[in-house]
């Protein structure tokens, strides 16, 4: 015991302090447990997801609405500050959000799903990528007029999404395509194609015969 602790242990004040400390140690965990926890920012337990393959994880903090609509393959990594909102529209195929084996979503990813978002295997993303199949956050109060139509989003195996890009409703991204940083994709992207810009346009394209060529 250090000299200071010994001194604190002596005398009436010291005994009272020790008693308060004991009561505090007993009460505090109970008080803390009784306080409302920020459940919205805790990632769901694997059992709450539609599927969570071995080695897959969602980092905290995360905002996951509709966890039972989210299916992760094996070895999927969803980094911190992800926002996934899955609220099925009438007749949507379930689960709404399917993420393939070995795919990695970097920090600040946003996924909004009402009719379906399907991300293939081995897809990589940089930070702050948005993949949305509808125009407003699912679950938000309805506006004065109906939303523009939603459309299923599909991202092919091995594609890469650059930092801050947006994949909009109804877009299909081909196998191993590269979506450039900050691109806003509003129409389909062919396989092995590089797109940049807002709205996104192809800049390069690969074929087995000619290799990489400038697009257009």
């Amino acid at each position: 015991m250090t000299e200071r602790a010994e001194r604190a242990g002596r005398g009436r004040a010291g005994r009272a302090g020790a008693a308060v400390g004991r009561i505090g140690r007993v009460l505090c965990p109970r008080l803390l447990a009784a306080l409302p926890r920020p459940v919205a920012l805790d990632p769901p337990a694997p059992g709450d997801l539609a599927r969570c393959g071995p080695g897959s994880w969602i980092a905290a903090p995360a905002t996951i609405v509709g966890a039972e609509q989210v299916a992760l393959g094996t070895g999927v990594i969803v980094m911190e500050q992800a926002e996934i909102r899955a609220v099925p529209a009438a007749g949507a195929a379930e689960p709404l959000v399917v993420i393939g084996d070995g795919t990695r979503l970097a920090r600040f990813a946003t996924i909004w799903a009402t009719v379906g978002v399907e991300i293939g295997a081995g897809v990589g993303t940089s930070d702050a990528v948005a993949i949305i199949d509808c125009w407003r956050p699912p679950g938000a109060p309805a506006g004065a007029i109906p939303d523009p139509p939603a459309g299923r989003v599909v991202i092919g195996d091995g594609a890469y999404l650059g930092a801050g890009c947006v994949i909009g409703p109804g877009v299909v991204i081909g196998r191993s395509a590269y979506v450039g940083e900050g691109a806003v994709v509003t129409s389909d992207v062919a396989a092995h194609t590089v797109v940049y810009g807002n709205p996104a346009r192809p800049t390069r394209h690969w074929t087995a015969e000619a290799g990489w060529r400038a697009a257009g």
Partner: protein, 214 residues
């Protein structure tokens, strides 16, 4: 003499460590203070049931009025600054608005967000920009240009990462798509996309969403 030098060096090292510790503590304290939203009483108006979720940066709350049942999600930066001579800034946010995470509103003149506006994450709304006309001075040091009022009308929606620039009015129930950079007025009940933003669809009662101009 050698012993004296050693002691003085050790004292110096200790002083340096203490001052580093003190600096870290000050930075941490200032960060917490700067990122804690001011109390409702500091605002020009702050309606019932409204929330600014910390952490948030709010400057000049006396120039900000917030309606009822507004939620401003975390990491907002309400940068309301009297930066232009003779212009007192004013930011008004109407009832039942929901402002997404990491929103940045740069206001030196007038920014009005009407009732029932919904914005996604990472939205930027600015009624001015840093002047850049003087080639010999850093842009950051040059004065802000004269602000032009920005209005987001009732029931409008701003998508993820949308940017609304000075002088723009976004019409009632308009949809600003994700990543759009709005430089011109958006008509009511219209969907705009792209940089610069262009109308792509509009809503007609009875016909639904039709291609622009339809």
């Amino acid at each position: 003499m050698a012993g004296g030098r050693v002691i003085s060096e050790r004292l110096h090292g200790l002083r340096e460590r203490l001052s580093n510790l003190e600096r870290s503590r000050r930075v941490a304290t200032a960060t917490v203070r700067n990122l804690t939203p001011p109390p409702p009483s500091a605002f020009a108006a702050f309606g019932d049931g409204s929330w600014i979720v910390p952490p948030a940066r709010v400057s000049t709350p006396q120039a900000i009025s917030i309606g009822h049942h507004v939620v401003i999600h975390e990491h907002a930066w309400l940068s309301v600054v009297p930066a232009v001579e003779g212009v007192w800034p004013s930011l008004r946010i109407g009832d039942r608005c929901s402002i997404g995470r990491m929103c940045h509103i740069a206001c030196v003149g007038e920014v009005v967000i009407e009732d029932d506006v919904l914005t996604s994450d990472r939205v930027f709304i600015g009624d001015t920009y840093h002047g850049y006309e003087d080639p010999d001075r850093p842009v950051l040091e040059q004065p802000m240009v004269d602000p032009r009022p920005v209005r987001i009308s009732r029931g409008a929606f701003l998508g993820i990462g949308a940017i609304v620039l000075l002088g723009v009015t976004v019409g009632e129930s308009a949809y600003v798509g994700a990543g759009a950079v709005v430089t011109e007025d958006v008509p009511p009940r219209t969907l705009v996309l792209g940089n610069p933003a262009r109308p792509v669809r509009r809503y007609e009662p009875g016909r639904g969403w039709v291609a622009w101009p339809g």
